[in-house]
């Protein structure tokens, strides 16, 4: 027996070496032109080139060694584990969830509520600004957007690649209406949502007969049209210059955050004048908005309309045969999702103080969709985790100053943000095509609530 396993081992090793070599050669050919050669402009602004054999060597070696290790060690290890599991014949369904698992949501909520104060304690007043704003608020905006898109894509199965359009409607309506009419944030927030929902119905109506892929493309087209109109309709939107000087949100109309205002928040409470307090306030606002989105989603899932959305995703024809008006159902999904996008948009404008068409490119729609799919369609928790990982992760890259020491002072991790984001998208899809959370929680049960495995849920064909 030992001889056999040694032979097998040798075979695997031989294969690994061969595959590693092939990988190295392929990598060499692929990267020869793009990595091995660098084009740049010299002082005369002429395009010239130089070689980067070192970098090319790194790529080739990484590819070759990586493939070698995968074929030689990692894959056999994973296969052996699968075999061992199959042999014991025990299904790994442990009924007992750990304390952390059971109370995850409560723990997370408590953590979020305390987050700004924790950040202030750890990093000091000014230091916490970055953590509250760039991390906290930024991530929560994406969570809300993803939860909003989740209603359209995750629940109703309508593939929307132009969700950023509603985000833009919300942002610009707050920006322009507050500038022209002086309405307060709290009045415009619901208005932005309603306007976005209206747009959802207008855009949705002509396209909802379309099948999955086509619906995706047409929504992409609409998203781009809106962005291009924003760029070119300079009379109203000031084009690429954007709208600046957008009014800040007030503390429910009681205290203002404008520096110098008579009822300034900081002054009223005897706090030092620092923008941190405004950001902390905003943090709680977006947190509340997220909670609202989650609450509405959870409640709606238990209502007939929510069930109709999920049924629509599973089989539209069956829905029609059960007397469900599929057009109206799709429109409500679209409009509801759009509404939350509008809320997020107006919040975004209030926080930035400035909006421009640059913030509403297709890439944003793609990122939000990626978060929904990576998180597991329909799962609020999974999506939130995906947002934290993807958005937080890329924000984290900005912080990694120490990498400058390794790669030299010219190294800006910034540039790699999107590259790593794209790679993460590809990698996660390879390993978990149904997202982090692969199961669906049923909304009604007779005896016990059993999670539905992701292999049964359909992804919708529009």
């Amino acid at each position: 027996m030992a001889n056999v396993s040694v032979d097998v081992r040798e075979d695997v090793m031989a294969k690994a070496v061969k595959e590693g070599a092939i990988a190295g050669i392929v990598a060499f050919l692929m990267f020869l032109v793009f990595v091995g050669i660098e084009t740049y402009q010299d002082i005369n602004n002429q395009l010239v080139w130089r070689t980067r054999w070192g970098l090319l060597a790194v790529f080739v070696i990484v590819a070759a060694v990586g493939r070698f290790l995968t074929v030689g060690f990692i894959k056999p290890h994973l296969d052996a584990r699968k075999l061992a599991k199959a042999k014991t014949g025990v299904l790994e369904i442990s009924e007992e969830k750990s304390f952390f698992h059971k109370h995850f949501l409560k723990i997370a909520l408590v953590f979020l509520l305390c987050y700004p104060f924790l950040a202030m304690m750890v990093f000091g007043r000014q230091g916490s600004l970055k953590y509250v704003d760039n991390f906290g608020i930024q991530i929560l905006i994406y969570v809300m957007l993803a939860w909003g898109l989740n209603i359209v894509v995750g629940l109703a199965g309508l593939l929307d690649l132009g969700y950023v359009a509603f985000y833009a409607v919300g942002a610009y309506s707050y920006a322009l209406l507050s500038a022209h009419f002086g309405f307060s944030f709290w009045l415009l927030l619901p208005m932005a949502g309603i306007l976005a929902a209206m747009w959802g119905v207008i855009l949705g109506f002509p396209v909802l007969r379309l099948r999955g892929d086509y619906l995706a493309i047409v929504t992409l087209a609409f998203g781009e049209i809106i962005r291009l109109v924003l760029i070119n309709w300079t009379d109203v939107t000031r084009g690429t210059f954007g709208v600046s000087g957008i009014a800040k949100a007030s503390f429910f109309g009681i205290w203002s955050f404008d520096v110098g205002a008579a009822n300034n928040f900081n002054k009223a409470w005897g706090l030092p004048s620092s923008s941190v307090y405004y950001k902390m306030f905003l943090f709680y606002v977006i947190l509340a908005l997220c909670m609202l989105t989650a609450y509405v989603t959870i409640r709606l899932r238990r209502m007939p309309i929510g069930r109709a959305w999920e049924a629509l995703r599973e089989d539209e024809i069956a829905c029609r045969s059960l007397g469900i008006n599929t057009v109206a159902t799709k429109l409500t999904a679209f409009a509801t999702g759009a509404m939350f996008g509008g809320f997020a948009g107006s919040f975004f404008a209030a926080r930035q103080g400035f909006v421009s068409p640059e913030s509403f490119v297709f890439l944003e729609s793609a990122v939000i969709l990626a978060i929904v799919v990576l998180g597991g369609m329909g799962s609020l928790t999974g999506i939130a985790i995906a947002a934290v990982v993807m958005v937080g992760g890329t924000e984290l890259l900005r912080e990694l100053e120490f990498l400058k020491h390794i790669f030299g002072p010219d190294f800006t991790p910034e540039l790699y943000r999107m590259l790593l984001f794209g790679l993460a998208m590809v990698v996660v899809m390879l390993f978990k095509p149904r997202g982090f959370v692969g199961t669906r929680e049923p909304t009604a049960f007779l005896k016990e609530r059993k999670a539905v495995s992701g292999s049964f849920t359909k992804e919708g064909h529009g």
Binding site: P304, E314, A318, S321, T326, A444, F445, V452
Partner: protein, 292 residues
């Protein structure tokens, strides 16, 4: 048995008049007429490709007929022209529901949820189109409880009560078929259209199906079914209509149809002259077993 073309008797629930369906150059159904009586099980049979599912799709709103009138008369007397209704209205307003040849369940939803989706319209009204329900008004809570009770009733009738919380996609084939029927019944239809409900069922399952269908009929719902399995058709049908190449070739009781030479010829592929021969012999009473 009145087969008048102009007035509908009180018995008739569905009247198909001169239905024709053309696909490009192909005439799938040609001048097809029949009546289904209330409280009866009517079967639509015929060799493969005869156009049975096409007829179904016309009745249930998936195809728009090229020509013809499909009149549905509800028990309260109101009549609807099915070819004029929107696809979902055929169920919502006219009370017609159906099952599909290739099972169309909501496989990612649980068995119970499948049945709750079927009661969508009732629940929507009770929830004040979601708004009242969202605000927690009691009307919805009561309606929701009633909906679960109705679902439970049909789960027991279809022998699915033990699998209520399992994903529909997890069920065996026979169970999935029963679920589709239960789901269609939860919409409270007056006419249930079944497209090959016995397909793929073993003899024991077919017997269970027969009991279920008879039970549905006895409670007042009319049934229209397409079926190949003669043990089901002959056992439970009150009325059989035979289709071949898009045209009606026989219409009557199961016994009548069973012995109709045209039907035999259609299924067995007898030469046309032979059919005429047999008909002649029948007329002269020289062939056994033929009763008109």
């Amino acid at each position: 048995m009145a087969t008048g073309m102009t007035t509908m008797t009180n018995d008739t629930i569905l009247k198909v008049e001169r239905l024709s369906m053309k696909f490009g150059g192909l005439m799938a159904i040609n001048d097809f007429s029949f009546e289904a009586k209330r409280g009866e099980i009517t079967a639509l049979i015929g060799p493969n490709g005869a156009g049975k599912t096409t007829v179904f799709n016309c009745i249930t709103g998936f195809y728009k007929p090229t020509m013809g009138m499909l009149t549905l008369k509800r028990s309260n007397g109101s009549e609807f022209l099915l070819e004029r209704l929107r696809d979902f209205e055929i169920n919502k307003v006219a009370g017609v529901s159906r099952t599909f040849q290739n099972i169309r369940l909501f496989s990612g939803l649980t068995v119970l949820e499948n049945l709750l989706v079927a009661q969508h319209n009732v629940l929507m009204k009770a929830s004040g189109f979601t708004i009242l329900g969202l605000l927690g008004f009691p009307a919805y809570k009561t309606a929701a409880k009633e909906a679960i009770e109705k679902a439970t009733y049909w789960l027991e009738k279809a022998d699915l009560i033990d699998r209520a919380d399992d994903p529909a996609g997890d069920l065996s084939y026979g169970a999935q078929r029963r679920l589709e029927i239960a789901r269609a019944m939860c919409t409270g239809p007056e006419l249930l259209c079944l497209d090959e409900p016995a397909a793929g069922l073993n003899p024991k399952e077919s017997l269970t199906l027969n009991t279920l269908l008879r039970g549905i009929r006895d409670e007042g719902t009319s049934l229209l079914l397409i079926e190949h399995d003669m043990s089901v058709v002959m056992e439970i049908s009150d009325h059989v209509v035979v289709l071949e190449y898009g045209q009606k070739i026989s219409d009557g009781t199961p016994d009548h149809v069973k012995n109709d030479p045209k039907v035999i010829a259609a299924y067995l592929g007898v030469e046309d002259e032979e059919v005429e021969e047999i008909e002649e012999q029948l007329d002269h009473g020289t062939v056994e077993g033929g009763t008109v």
